[in-house]
């Protein structure tokens, strides 16, 4: 397993982290995992909701030294 690509959305207000993810994910192969770093409290709600609406997999939240990270896998 390679480390996930990191998309740094820290300092961005919603909906920007969702938009950034929506732009990047289709450029990656199906099955790829990305980690979205986002400190806007709305990201914790909106990233999983976007995955549900778009049929992508929300893998989970990781709280590391870089703040909250949200792992998403491209499914389609």
């Amino acid at each position: 397993m390679t480390a996930p690509e990191v998309i740094d959305c820290r300092g961005q207000r919603c909906p920007l982290p969702v938009i950034t993810l929506a732009r990047r994910l289709p450029e990656l192969p199906v099955g790829a995992l990305v980690r979205v770093l986002a400190d806007d409290p709305a990201a914790a709600v909106d990233l999983p909701a976007w995955c549900r609406l778009r049929g992508q997999e929300f893998v989970g939240r990781v709280d590391g030294p870089d703040g909250p990270g949200f792992d998403v896998r491209r499914r389609r």
Binding site: R13, C14, P15, V18, I19, A22, R23, D40, P41, A42, A44, V45, D46, P48, A49, W50, R52, L53
Partner: protein, 383 residues
């Protein structure tokens, strides 16, 4: 552009009902004296207060001595929570509440926890209805003193299973407090509660009047410093002209609630259907069936909620939003978060007695273009 104003935020404050205006003006002349005193103008004020209490109690189907007027729905909610806990101190210090209570209830819960009590938040499903199994477990836990459940969500309109939740509470010997602010005046008040609150400006009464109803036999103790007014439940003199107007308008709106709610529910059905089909990438949230008649909420993907509110305002539409950018705390609505639905680009539309079909049509006609323009500006079309 000066588009004619279309007010679609009745869930924040409904326009003043004509009966409320009339009663308010009359009571300003007639009801300014202190109802506690023993002279003719005071007796007149006392009569007005008693009549208002009787009218409000009759409309809600409760006893007049069970009902107190408070300075707001928020003050009533604080009293309900803190007084319900104080009265049951001996049973324990546990508060159970849904995850989607109004902030007034949640802030009272925070105060309770800061004072050493506990609070258990019961989750909701995707449409915003509480999980009854989790509710039962929480209510049945040792030391539960009070349970609080909003009758219907002020943010997404989903009606809660109050009767079932109340039966669980009754079996456990735990009083149930129901925040009925969005239901009173719009739909029948559910059964099964021990304490109930409401707010006059949600039904067309003036702002600054709340109702607190404490059922006979409920162990409830005022959390405030001693004051004998309003049966000792809420301190301070009532705003009598506003109370008179609140009671008169409550009676008026309750009298034709069924017909008005049926009309508004059809308009909300139309909004739900048309927004879902005519605005791309939109999530209409809340229960489509078991919901308030006058309220609908949706979220537009990739759209900034604040920008959307301003764009709608420029076209004359007054709506509210649960998006984080529109809140003073910059946090998304805890209701949308608890449901796990999109919180950005969020719009709550709530209708009132004067909302016309033409106004709703204009909103529905203009909305797709407004959302489309914002998306084009942000470069997110087709994303």
């Amino acid at each position: 552009m000066n588009a004619s104003p279309v007010y679609l935020d009745a869930a924040s404050a409904a326009p003043l009902h004509p009966v409320a205006r009339q009663a308010l003006l009359a009571a300003l002349d007639d009801g300014w004296a202190d109802p506690q005193r023993l002279y003719a103008p005071a007796r007149r004020a006392r009569q007005l207060l008693d009549a208002a209490r009787e009218a409000a109690a009759a409309t809600l189907g409760v006893r007049p001595d069970e009902l107190s007027f408070t300075p707001s729905g928020t003050a009533a909610a604080h009293s309900a929570v803190l007084g319900g806990l104080a009265g049951r101190r001996r049973a324990g210090s546990g508060l159970v509440h849904s995850a989607i209570e109004h902030s007034a209830v949640l802030h009272a819960a925070e105060r309770h926890v800061a004072g050493g009590g506990t609070a258990t938040s019961v989750p909701v499903n995707r449409v915003g209805r509480i999980d009854l199994d989790a509710w039962s477990t929480a209510v049945g836990a040792p030391g539960t003193a009070l349970a609080a459940l909003i009758a219907a969500s002020h943010e997404v309109g989903t009606v809660q299973p109050v009767a079932a939740a109340g039966a669980v509470c009754a079996a456990a010997g735990v009083p149930l407090y129901v925040d009925a602010a969005q239901v009173v005046g719009h739909a029948p008040v559910p059964a099964g509660w021990s304490v109930l609150t409401a707010s006059a400006h949600k039904w067309g009464g003036p702002p600054g009047v709340g109702l607190l109803v404490v059922r006979k036999g409920t162990r409830w103790e005022s959390p405030w410093p001693m004051d004998e007014r309003e049966a000792g439940r809420t301190p301070g003199v009532v705003n009598l002209p506003a109370v008179v107007a609140a009671a008169a308008s409550l009676r008026a709106v309750a009298a034709d609630a069924a017909a008005r709610s049926a009309r508004l529910a059809r308009l909300v059905d139309r909004i739900r259907a048309r927004v879902a089909t005519e605005v791309p990438d939109v999530e209409v949230v809340g229960d489509p069936e078991d919901r308030l008649p006058h309220l609908v909420t949706f979220s537009c993907l990739y759209v900034d909620g604040e920008a959307l509110l301003h764009a709608l305002d420029r076209r004359g539409f007054a709506v509210s939003s649960g998006s984080s950018c529109t809140s003073s705390t910059l946090r998304p609505s805890h209701v949308l978060a608890a449901m796990g639905v999109l919180s950005h680009g969020n719009v709550r539309v709530s209708l009132h007695r004067d909302t016309t079909e033409a106004e709703v049509e204009r909103f529905l006609t203009e909305l797709p273009g407004i959302v489309g323009a914002l998306r084009a500006e942000a470069g997110v079309v087709g994303l």
